[in-house]
Amino acid sequence: MLKHTENIIVVKNLIKKFGSFIANDNLSFEVKKGEIFGFLGANGAGKTTAIKILSGLSFPTSGDVMVAGYDVYKEREKVKENIGYMSQKFSLYEDLTVRENIRFYGGIYGLSGKYIKEKTESLLERLKMKDIQNSLISSLPLGWKQKIAFSVAIFHDPKIVFLDEPTGGVDPITRRDFWEMIYEASDSGITVFVTTHYMDEAEYCDRVSIMDQGRIEGLDTPGELKKQFNAKNMDEVFLKIAR
């Protein structure tokens, strides 16, 4: 695939310790521009720690980390301006309307009021949410919240969007819809860095890394990983690594 050539995330020998506990043990990997990168691992494998470091919330103990071309040590603000983030809680304000949420999140990225307004119109059009733009988030079904949360996370056109278990708790159809949105984002050049517990979703990724006890134990396309671990599907790959 030609489009995935430029490195957008480069991690070399990343180590993060909490006291004597090693959360990330010598991680090294690259993520290509425009790629959908699956970041898998059992609970407590160190995924969240790694995402926090990549998104500038936490400093590594040692190692080099470049995100969107910026050093997470020295250029944390630059990193933050160029990434989007969506957590499993969807992180929208329930007591604000759809429009107000978009307005607010656009605002904290320093976008101008006029730009936000125009982009909101086209976004609402695209999501077919014109009718509910003034409804409170709390009144919407989960699937819609999820779509809005994702749209908000990429509203400022980041180079990379981090999705931390973005499909937790939603039904399979909604999940499928959601992955359509992820593909769209990826096609428009946004790199998607996604963690998930659903192994069928891992199949949708361009490349997948699987972590266990702070280390990356496997990193390749889903097809290669299955070959490498002699497994029928990603589920088996995951179990073989995590056991």
Binding site: G56, S58, K80, S87, Q88, S91, Y105, G107, I108
Partner: protein, 368 residues
């Protein structure tokens, strides 16, 4: 700056859309002050008074008539010596004695001013205060309507003395105490809950990932509560002044400045609590048990500190509300300036700096 304004706006949306928050913010201060105020009733009718007229001229006679015909007072006795004042009060029927100085009318004409002494039985401090305020009001209206109207620019200076309880202990406690309580509640509790809510809902994470720095985030969250706290404080002061006749002897600006200081202190305490709690529930419980109850019980609001066991007295001296109450009482009742309350002010400043420093440190640790 734009980002910041958007942030503050959002915070106001949170407040105005949650009717429970609104109720706590605006219903409670008013309800509290009215309840505390009316528990010590302010209705007076047919209060027995005595008059000691050392002058016995036409003006003192006119004033006496005004007072006795007002409907609030019944002239129980005319006194003829200073010793009789004490005796009149001791008998327990007379609540107030009005003393005209000798040569009252003559002094008015010669000097343009004369004095009236209003002595009230302050063992029931609330009544004493209301009674003396009514009396003053009648005298003032006499000066305005009768003397000024005739083109006589005279001044009659009422001097109020509270007998038996000249500091009015106990009664006016409810205003400074309620203020401390409400400000603690609004500033510390509401702030900590609102920050904890962002953590609970995961929105804090998104904010921290954004280019907004932690400090503006915290300030943005705190400003609306600061504004509302201040409005609350003003409402409480206004209610206590206009409805309950609590005096504001000292400088109003100074009073408000001290109030603002206490609000800062409470806000920094709220931020500190929020760094230690990840859910609204935890924030609420910490605020309740670490702030509200001690504020009510140990600050001298309800129980006098002097009567507490030694250990509780020590405990009470780490209650910020204690110092605030002392400051407010001094300013409002005694008219003190910074010269009198500098020590308490300094303690509050110290506490603010301490809490703020601690929470900044904890906030940073959380981020790493």
């Amino acid at each position: 700056m734009n980002r910041f304004i958007g942030f503050v706006k959002k915070e106001f949306h949170h407040i105005f859309r949650d009717y429970r928050t609104m109720l706590i913010l605006f219903g409670m201060p008013i309800a509290q002050i009215l309840i505390f105020g009316y528990v010590v009733s302010n209705e007076i009718t047919d209060v027995n008074i005595a008059i000691f007229d050392k002058s016995k001229d036409n003006i003192t006679q006119e004033i006496t008539n005004k007072i006795t015909s007002s409907g609030f007072f019944i002239l129980h006795d005319n006194l003829n010596s200073d010793q009789e004042i004490e005796k009149a009060f001791k008998r327990g029927i007379v609540r107030e004695v009005i003393v005209f100085e000798p040569n009252f009318a003559e002094k008015l004409k010669r000097d343009g001013k004369a004095g009236i002494q209003i002595i009230a039985d302050a063992s029931d401090a609330n009544t004493a205060n209301i009674v003396s305020n009514y009396t003053k009001a009648i005298i003032n209206s006499y000066v305005k309507n009768e003397l000024f109207a005739q083109g006589l620019p005279y001044e009659i200076i009422p001097e109020v003395r509270m007998l038996y309880n000249d500091e009015l202990k106990g009664v006016y406690m409810f205003v400074p105490g309620t203020m401390a309580l409400i400000l603690m509640l609004v500033s510390a509790m509401m702030t900590s809950i609102s920050i904890a809510r962002e953590k609970e809902l995961g929105t804090m994470e998104v904010l921290l990932v954004s280019p907004l720095k932690p400090l503006p985030i915290v300030i943005g969250k705190v400003i609306p509560y600061m504004v509302l706290s201040f409005i609350n404080a003003v409402v409480i002061i206004a209610l206590s002044y206009f409805v309950f006749g609590m005096p504001i002897q000292g400088n109003l600006i100074f009073l408000l400045a001290e109030t603002l200081l206490f609000i800062f202190m409470a806000l920094s305490l709220g931020i500190l609590i929020s760094t230690a709690s990840n859910s609204q529930m935890v924030a609420m419980f910490i605020s309740m048990f670490a702030l509200m109850l001690p504020t009510m019980l140990l600050s001298g609001f309800i129980f006098p500190i002097e009567n507490m066991p030694k250990i509780l007295q020590w405990l009470s001296s780490i209650m910020p509300a204690k110092y605030f109450i002392i400051i407010i009482k001094n300013i409002m009742i005694k008219g003190s300036g910074i010269g009198i309350v500098w020590k308490e002010t300094l303690i509050l400043v110290g506490m603010t700096v301490f809490f703020l420093g601690l929470s900044i440190k904890k906030f940073k640790v959380r981020l790493e």
